[in-house]
């Protein structure tokens, strides 16, 4: 298959020397899943289409990028998975979507457009935003949908979103929050649905360019990865600088010294590195800096952190299975072992998936821990 050769070329897969390090580090393979990234790399190189598309394991990958990190031959396995999934999507092989595919349906409907979404209701009266133009664009992502879709998790990812706008306001910024925003398309892209992804990408890029923003800020690690990397072919005109909210808050030119905190009680916090923020974009320090700047906060790291951190195993609404669950439980145990009271995170999806795991009736008490978005913790500490 010529597409496979092309994929091998683009992702450096041809350089693989079959060492098996990727499979050895893959959390899915380690926890017992019948999954081997090495096998996919090999099949790509050999052009064995059926080993990739028909064997049905392609959607097991969390795309957490741990294997990329460890590969001695710099094979971009995660990128390869993205391309292989596109290929199998074109052949009609789709992942088995959890929640009956509801979230994918939602995203596709947003791609289609035609309705005016109710995207601004969460803002409340005290937050100041502009609907069309401004220097800073705040890309909210789909947190309002998550909170609505998962009422049983007592989830409040919108609190993180609100906190981010509150912090921007405190820094004297009136961000653009647009009612015409649509899903960034991250999950569709990683499910292989490039057609709908492109519709979303073009819409969002145009919307942000029209706002005249110089900086784009988001609280979602997935949105940021999508904006920085996957939207690149769709950039038009002058694109803004793209930053995660924790980067913005710790950057000396923007947030940095301008935030004043009240004295806080002594407490221990641990931080979950979202795979999109950490390994995908190399942003490890800003969230940590934002947390340690808070009075009374002691940041304790989990056993695996930074570039070796375990991902929340939820990824792209395509691979929720018992292995994902086990990974989440392990990770929550690690968080509990640190003795921290709060598990901070910088991606709403991490919250969704860990809160789901905490609902386990047999383990609940053992793995429960309070989860907050970094922006929420920072905003609460403001004087």
């Amino acid at each position: 298959m010529p597409e496979l050769a092309e994929a091998a070329r683009r992702t450096n897969a041809w350089a693989c020397y079959d060492c098996g390090k990727c499979t050895a580090s893959c959390p899915i393979a380690r926890i017992g899943g019948n999954y081997s990234p090495r096998r996919h790399v090999l099949a790509t190189n050999l052009g064995h289409r059926e080993d990739i598309i028909e064997n049905g394991t392609l959607s097991s990958c969390l795309t957490c990028k741990l294997c990329d990190q460890r590969c001695p031959a710099q094979v971009g396995y995660t990128q390869l998975v993205q391309q292989l999934r596109e290929l199998s999507h074109r052949e009609g092989v789709e992942p088995e979507c959890p929640h009956g595919g509801a979230l994918q349906s939602l995203m596709r409907m947003m791609a289609k457009g035609g309705t005016q979404q109710d995207r601004m209701n969460w803002l409340g009266k005290d937050l100041e935003t502009d609907a069309a133009k401004g220097e800073v664009f705040y890309f909210t992502g789909c947190t309002m949908y998550y909170d609505t879709f998962f009422p049983e998790f007592q989830l409040n990812t919108l609190n993180g979103t609100r906190a981010a706008v509150r912090l921007l306001n405190r820094l004297g910024v009136k961000p653009v929050v647009s009612p015409t925003e649509r899903c960034c398309g991250h999950d569709l892209l990683w499910n292989g649905d490039r057609k709908n992804f492109e519709l979303l990408a073009k819409h969002n890029v145009q919307m942000v360019v029209d706002s005249g923003a110089e900086v784009l800020v988001t609280s979602c690690a997935e949105c940021l990865r999508t904006w920085k990397i996957d939207y690149e072919p769709f950039y038009t005109g002058k694109m803004p600088r793209m930053m995660h909210i924790t980067e913005y808050l710790t950057d000396p030119n923007y947030g940095g010294p301008n935030l004043k905190y009240k004295a806080g009680e002594q407490r221990r916090i641990t931080f979950q590195d979202p795979c999109r923020l950490g390994r995908h974009l190399g942003i490890y320090d800003p969230p940590r800096k934002a947390l340690t700047a808070l009075p009374g906060v002691e940041l304790t790291e989990m056993r695996r952190s930074g570039s070796g951190a375990m991902c929340c195993a939820g990824g792209t609404w395509s691979n929720c299975d018992r292995f994902a669950k086990q990974i989440q439980v392990q990770r929550l145990r690690e968080a509990r072992e640190t003795g921290a009271e709060v598990l901070a995170t910088a991606c709403p999806k991490c919250q969704v998936h860990f809160r789901c795991a905490m609902k386990d009736p047999n383990l609940g008490g053992e793995i429960e821990i309070e989860m907050r978005d970094v922006a929420e913790l920072v905003a609460d500490a403001l004087e």
Partner: protein
């Protein structure tokens, strides 16, 4: 322009227009096997007239109808979705319809966020004996959706619309 008008010496008479055909919505009805589906049967065997612009999907219990089903229906071109099951206390799996309410509320909230009108989605309890009620609900709902007009999601993608039609 004015020249063109002057030159015209006689009026071409168009044949009288037929009244525009009434637009009929496309509705998806989810019905549980034991009550509302049987209710539709009752309506049929009793020869009760009702509007026919719906497709019915039978599920074993209304508790099975999760947001994904409804969203999928809207995505694929439904102008309205009716969810139906047994009356409270009558569910053949004890409390499946209580679960259906939970799922329905969640779905309704999502539909509202998405910007579709609330009137396009409805929950009704219809028992196996209530043939007349089935017909009445269908008529009411069809009229309601007809008043709302085509789903805004159907505006752009006509090719997909015809696809769903042919399948």
């Amino acid at each position: 322009m004015t020249d063109g008008k002057k030159k015209r010496t006689h009026v071409i008479r168009k044949p009288p227009k037929a009244p525009p055909p009434k637009w009929n919505p496309r509705i998806v009805v989810f019905a549980c096997n034991w009550c509302s589906y049987a209710g539709a049967d009752t309506a049929g065997v009793s020869r009760i007239q009702h509007q026919p612009h719906f497709r019915m999907i039978r599920v074993m219990c209304s508790g099975r109808i999760q947001p994904g089903f409804v969203l999928r229906a809207f995505e694929r071109g439904a102008d309205g979705v009716l969810v139906s099951g047994c009356h409270f206390g009558d569910c053949h799996y004890v409390n499946g319809n209580e679960r259906a309410v939970e799922q329905f509320e969640k779905t309704m909230n999502i539909v509202k966020l998405l910007g579709l009108e609330e009137g396009r989605l409805r929950l009704e309890w219809i028992s196996a004996a209530e043939g007349a009620r089935f017909a009445q609900v269908i008529n009411e709902f069809t009229d309601q959706v007809r008043d709302l007009g085509p789903s805004p999601l159907n505006g752009q993608n006509h090719t997909e619309k015809t696809q769903t039609e042919s399948t």
